[in-house]
Amino acid sequence: MNKLFKKILVANRSEIAIRVMNACRTLGIPAVAVYSDADAKSKHRLQADESIHIGASPPRESYLDIEKIIAAAKQTGCDAIHPGYGFLAENPTFAGRCAEEKIAFIGPSPDAIALLGNKVASRTKMADAGVPLIPGMKGTETDLDVYREAAETAGYPVMIKAAAGGGGKGMRVVHDAEGLADAVDAARREAKNAFDDDTVYLEKYIINPRHIEFQIMADHHGNTVHVFERECSIQRRHQKIIEETPSMALDYDTRARMGADAVRVAQAAGYTNAGTVEFLYDKSGHYYFLEMNTRIQVEHPVTEMVTGVDLVIEQIRVAAGLPLSDHFRNLSQRGHAIECRIYAEDGEDNFMPSTGRIACYREPTGPGIRVDSGVTAGTEVTIDYDPIMAKLIAHAPTRELAISKMIDALHNYKILGVKTSKKFMVDVLSHPEFAAGRTYTDFIEKNMADRKLDMEQFRELAVAVAAASSFGGRRPQAAAADSGAGRVSIWRSVGSWQVGDLIHE
């Protein structure tokens, strides 16, 4: 294999950094990790071929510090940087700095990132390209009458959105004409505060749609393809927790039309490398372009399992100037894949963030099971970063079998010491509405709101397990600490469950 790059710096952490380094190993390219204080003992650092410390734990002082990342790449002789997702992945300044330093940025051009990062500019662009948009204003306006007129045309409820928006900031739902003026003002103020840009616009508020996105891959030779859809409607607090592909909502024709529109979006933006075109899909079967994410997506593995491609390897090939691999010209969906995001959060207490030390960690295995994980036994889960610990993916010939496999795998995934939403997701996957494919963005609100797990039912069994494990005077102890430097002693004393007494006593 000819080496595509001499060496790649992975400007990220945790599971996505490990995923990227895995692709580098397959391609025979050495990978350099960067790490903050908190990540000195993290899995992504210790698995890397080389690693560079880039600062303190707060992201601003490490993973978000463009110059430190560039310096690390130069110091280690890297000729390419993979940004992962989050952090600097969608920062046009960072992509631009890479270009200045003649380091390949494994992602789209700075111009494409900038265009697609601006909701108003990209909306205008996509309207011209003939992509279906949510009814509303084409561009931004300051005249309130324009808002009023657009709202009347689209029909209430409507939504005011910030051009630079993200994370729900600068967003307001308006249910009638009366509330419009205040909402526009409020959204403007919030946008100004959050993004230093008070540009807002108005569009129709689509009630409880499906969230369906298309994976895009485009090379530097004019080839742009879509790699089918992912449905990501199961969300809590606007954050995806379960994704799947194919979507139950799409028939052959709709899929083809949406896929063609997704390609149109990418082409209109002059897009290269991997990206994701997000659509809202309403209950009457209409779909609307929402935005394009200019990075590898958290949920990319479901696409890989159903289409057989390797998106990260392809990202690296494309960034090296190669045309799309042959198999990207003849793509098909096969079987069904589901991803569950394993966050450090308490699924039984309103998804409250959970921290702690993973004292025991066992991944499920089996045909069609994939785990992309950033943690291991001994990892300290802290509050410094995004709480995603791992992604569990199940693939099977049919959706019914994939659901069944996923439930089994969730039960066999043992993460002891930090709370997760495993049981919550088991209950979502077991719900008749999920089985029926009636997955809308209000799924959890509507179907899980009354859910309340009775912890008391486990009282006797849990105590019995503790008693069994402490029987004979020895305890099943926690694994060696591998990560989470600094805060608690990471070199804690280590033991292991000694059961000698059971037989020899």
Binding site: M352, L416, L461, F471
Partner: protein, 165 residues
């Protein structure tokens, strides 16, 4: 047969163990469980005809148990009958601290309130995450030292309790 006490939630629960061949029979109240050890940190037991694989680990005084994808915590009773709790000195259970520096989002109790063991006391935001701070003993709120918006460190108690006897 060896018997011992554990803390689950706010209760002290007694369990008795016995070896039966290569399995363990555990009695808790009226209930009996037969566990097959299947390697480090794992037990198997039969629930409605299907094998249920249970994970368990002891870490810092707490038994973390995964049953049916739910993570449960069981502790050994401390000398005063309460769970040890992570990080706390036995003599400081009457004070509620933030586990890391942050900003108070909400205080969930007021002076004079009766408080149970492990009751949510306050929410502290650190690095954009909200963290619930719970009591490490039952008692009555004696003082609330911070208000929403205040910065707290890990040294100053947010809430002080008068402990139950």
């Amino acid at each position: 047969m060896s018997a011992s006490d554990f803390v689950f939630g706010e209760d002290i629960v007694s369990a008795a163990c016995e070896k039966v061949g290569d399995r363990l029979l555990v009695k808790v109240g009226e209930k009996e469980y037969l566990f097959q050890p299947i390697g480090e940190n794992l037990f198997s037991t039969n629930v409605n005809g299907a094998a249920c694989i249970i994970g368990v680990v002891e870490d810092g005084g707490t038994y973390f148990v995964d049953i049916d994808s739910v993570l449960l915590e069981v502790t050994e009773p401390s000398e005063d009958g309460f769970a040890g709790g992570a990080g706390g000195l036995a003599g400081e259970k009457d004070k509620v601290f933030a586990p890391m520096p942050g900003k108070i989002v909400k205080v969930l109790v007021g002076v004079g309130d009766e408080v149970a063991l492990r009751q949510s006391m306050a929410i502290v935001e650190a690095m954009k995450m909200e963290n619930v701070i719970v009591s490490r003993a039952a008692g009555r709120v004696k003082a609330v030292n911070f208000a929403p918006g205040d910065q707290v460190d890990t040294e100053s108690p947010i809430i002080e309790l008068e402990l139950d006897e």
